[in-house]
């Protein structure tokens, strides 16, 4: 909330908050216009998800997961993936529970776990090469450290792959380590996979729910906002076994009951269009990824030329950057703030470029570890990246 106020200032090149400034595909907008013109579609639909949307989702994900998914019992449509996270945590987590959260983490996980009365248990991703990181793949969990976090009170682990903010795409082997622990300790897995389609060359998105023994204990979360570049539609979904999803449905029927109808109908139609071409490279799920890969590469090049050290993400639309290489002295500024907060404020004021400090994504113990990093969002149109390029090219000329 704090950094989005900055976003409203038009003189600042905003690479902070994760929202696209590119246009969603035209057929997505057209389908909304068509849906809103149908009278019945302006009234309530089925609470747990508009029938045509849950049908479309079940088809797409049956194909991806290689298993039958019942649209009525295995899927819940929510207000964004955010709403799915909330419904899942309210449904399945309570006082006395512990929930493992991998740092850095999308910032809502911690408050949502606390709101449910449970205790968050943090484990950091650690950089393999002693702080010299060129790729998101360098950031890994220590298996022994992870195993130590599990105990009889552990109710769930929250997984985010592709990962925000680092962009890590967990490999099958890494997921197997997590899966083995979930099975051994009989815990749930909440798998936030909103960036599932945004995976770059050489990487494959793996769904932990498809590993042996995992379907029954995993809720997988997806997002229309990230899939179709329509974050403002606020539609997401939870997919899993009936014995878990039914509890999410109870939360949903007691919190907001149903999601907007015309948006769900439009999304359903967009999914049919892309479902039919899932073997075709023009499918938006793949074409968006290709478009973003070139933006990623451009961003990385610009940052490197400016003397910064980007960590190239294997997925997602964020990139973290080590800013310590610039040696910007901010020691006279408020000492209580982590370095990255101070750096971002300084960068906004003096360079008119915004990003998000990485310690915003960490628990209290780990803030020091991550305070030399800031996060950039690169799902931006060319003119935005052009403006960022100008700033970055002029960076060293102005640094005093």
């Amino acid at each position: 909330v704090e950094f989005t106020k900055v976003a409203a200032d038009p003189s600042i090149v905003n690479l902070g908050q994760g929202l696209p400034d590119i246009s969603p595909p035209s057929y997505v907008k057209e389908e909304l216009a068509k849906a809103a013109a149908v009278d019945r579609l302006n009234q309530y639909t089925r609470g747990f998800g508009h029938p045509s949307l849950v049908k479309a989702l079940s088809q797409v994900y049956e194909r991806v997961c290689g298993r039958k998914i019942d649209p009525l019992t295995d899927i819940l449509v929510t207000v964004g993936a955010y709403g799915s996270l909330f419904s899942t945590i309210q449904a399945l987590i309570e006082e006395g529970d512990e929930v493992i959260i991998i740092e850095p983490f999308y910032d809502c996980y911690e408050p949502m776990v606390r709101m449910a009365g449970a205790k968050p248990v943090f484990i950091p991703l650690r950089c393999k090469n002693n702080g010299n990181s060129a790729s998101s793949a360098d950031w890994v969990l220590d298996p022994a450290e992870l195993a130590n976090k599990f105990n009889s009170k552990t109710k769930a682990i929250i997984l985010n792959t592709p990962h925000n903010p680092i962009g890590k795409v967990f490999t099958q082997e890494e997921l197997q380590v997590i899966a083995d622990l979930c099975i051994k300790h009989d815990t749930l897995c909440i798998s936030d996979e909103v960036y599932e389609w945004l995976v770059y060359k050489g990487n494959k998105h793996m769904k932990i729910a498809t590993l042996p023994g995992m379907w029954e204990r995993t809720v997988t979360i997806g997002s229309a906002g990230k899939t179709y570049s329509v974050t403002g539609w606020k539609l997401g979904w939870s997919i899993g076994p009936e014995n878990l999803i039914k509890h999410l449905q109870v939360v949903h029927q007691n919190t907001l009951y149903t999601c907007p109808t015309p948006l769900q109908e439009a999304l359903a139609q967009a999914f049919w269009i892309d479902y039919k071409r899932m073997d075709d490279p023009d499918c938006y799920f793949y074409s968006l990824s290709r478009e973003l890969e070139s933006k990623r590469d451009r961003m990385a090049r610009l940052l490197t030329e400016a003397g910064l050290k980007p960590v190239i993400p294997d997925g997602g639309y964020f990139m973290i950057v080590d800013v310590s290489t610039l040696n910007v002295d901010l020691s006279d500024v408020d000492e209580k703030q982590p370095y990255d907060y101070k750096f971002v404020r300084w960068m906004i004021a003096s360079k008119k470029l915004s990003a998000i400090p990485l310690s915003a994504f960490c628990g209290p113990e780990t803030k020091k570890q991550f305070e030399k990093y800031i996060r950039f969002c690169f799902i931006k149109k060319d003119s935005t990246l052009d403006a960022a390029e100008v700033i970055l090219k002029n960076w060293n000329k102005q640094t005093g």
Binding site: P24, D39, G80, F86, M112, W233, T255
Partner: protein
């Protein structure tokens, strides 16, 4: 890789998974009745939504937004409410309440009034708190209070016999002042008010609201005022808003709905209006549960309000035309019901009407020792055998009081004339069958 456990044992979660806050709140009448209506009903006067279109100007507003080329309307907007919408709402409520409002701190947009209610209960109710709910009530209040760990305390509206020869009115259902006062204790945190009331259609009078307000002030209790049907008030009545009474602004959250205001229930845009000291807590819940509401729906609703602000009080205002149209539909339905022997309670507001079905006991006999109240059986039978959907009144009562009023069913009359006529045909045919049997 070896797995020590056999696959079936691996697969299942062996412990109880769900959180205890879900206890007792898993049943929901709408899930059941919407399914039944979808299967059996030819004429659906059950669930509360219009079957006539949303007004043209709203559809046009959405079209304009989509055609504007501003694709940022498809991205996140301000979390607590899209600026044009909160601005329009603040302007409207300044007029209605006669006080200055800050759109940023006195207004918050939600995913329908439903989510506004959820935020209120989550924000204000803790374990050990009591919440007074007036029966009959919109069914979600009870489970929401329970989910927040609170204890619902019920107080009934009691019907007084109407004057001779007149139809009963929703105004004849009243609170007993002494009974109401007895429900307030030191644990009372909130009272939920719904005026105009779903399902009865009661519009609480100024005097009735003053009674409630006095008790709120005396016991330092908050008021959640569900006013979603605020524009649907008939016979020239005016709605009194409890927040405008002395001592109430500071302790009241008003809940409203674009779905009901603009006949577009599927858009799920609602709002809360109140003092910053209360709304700040709603914002906390909101930012930890849904965070943002859909941008483009808010944009179109904002334009709808801008139009209404410019036409306020004028005959072309939708706020003037909609109640006029609905009053005619109300009266049509009343005629149909009276003709067939159902006894309607004339609603002062909302688009619901409750009718007494005692005369039909011969068609659908009581079943002794049935665990389902009579009106549930009746409505299910009516749906399956006559194709007409309505909702049993006991759905709007707490478990303990479900058997107090089992001879009533609720109809929704926000329907095209063709639908109301079709309902009339069913009822007339039924009456003829009864007469000849």
């Amino acid at each position: 890789q070896t797995h020590f456990l056999s696959l079936p044992l691996q697969a299942k979660m062996s412990r109880a998974v769900q959180a205890r806050r879900l206890e007792g709140i898993d049943k929901n009448i709408w899930v059941e009745f919407v399914k039944l209506a979808a299967t059996y009903s030819k004429v659906n006067l059950g669930q509360g939504f219009p079957d006539f279109p949303a007004p043209d100007f709203l559809q046009e507003a959405l079209k304009r937004a989509l055609g504007s080329g501003n694709h940022m309307l498809h991205q996140y907007t301000r979390a607590f409410g899209h600026p044009p919408l909160v601005t329009a709402l603040a302007q409207l409520f300044e007029k209605l309440l006669g006080r200055e409002l800050d759109p940023m701190t006195n207004v918050m947009v939600t995913v329908g009034a439903y989510q506004a209610l959820f935020c209120c209960f989550q924000a204000f109710v803790d374990e050990g708190d009591e919440v007074i709910i007036i029966e009959p009530f919109f069914d979600c209040y009870e489970p929401m209070v329970k989910m927040a760990g609170g204890t619902p305390v019920f107080v009934p509206l009691r019907p007084k016999a109407p004057k001779d020869g007149k139809l009963m009115s929703s105004a004849d259902w009243q609170l007993d002042p002494a009974e109401l006062a007895s429900k307030f204790s030191e644990r009372t945190k909130v009272i939920v008010l719904n005026s105009p009331n779903n399902p009865l259609g009661k519009v609480f009078s100024r005097g009735e609201l003053e009674l409630i307000a006095e008790l709120c002030v005396k016991h330092d209790v908050l008021c959640v005022s569900d006013e979603v049907y605020e524009w649907l008030v008939y016979d020239g009545r005016e709605l009194t808003r409890i927040a405008s009474l002395p001592g109430m602004w500071d302790r009241t959250v008003i809940v409203g709905s674009a779905g009901k205001t603009f006949s577009a229930t599927g858009w799920k845009v609602g709002w809360t209006v109140g003092p910053d000291r209360l709304l700040q807590h709603l914002r906390t819940v909101h930012q930890n549960s849904v965070y943002h509401c859909a941008t483009i729906a808010q944009e179109a609703v904002a334009q709808g309000f801008q139009r209404e602000l410019s036409l306020y009080g004028k005959p072309e205002s939708y706020f003037v035309q909609l109640p006029r149209t609905l009053q005619q539909k109300r009266d049509l339905l009343i005629q149909s019901l009276v003709a067939v022997g159902m006894k309607p309670i004339v609603p002062e507001g909302t688009y619901f009407l409750v009718a007494d079905i005692s005369e039909f006991k011969s068609d659908v006999p009581e079943v002794p020792n049935s665990d389902e109240p009579y009106d549930y059986r009746f409505t299910k039978w009516m749906m399956k055998n006559k194709g007409l959907a309505a909702i049993p009144l006991s759905a709007f009562y707490s478990e303990a009081h479900k058997n107090n009023y089992t001879n009533f069913i609720r109809f929704c009359f926000a329907k095209e004339e063709a639908t109301l006529k079709a309902a009339n045909d069913i009822l007339q045919k039924w009456k003829k069958e009864k007469a000849s049997s």
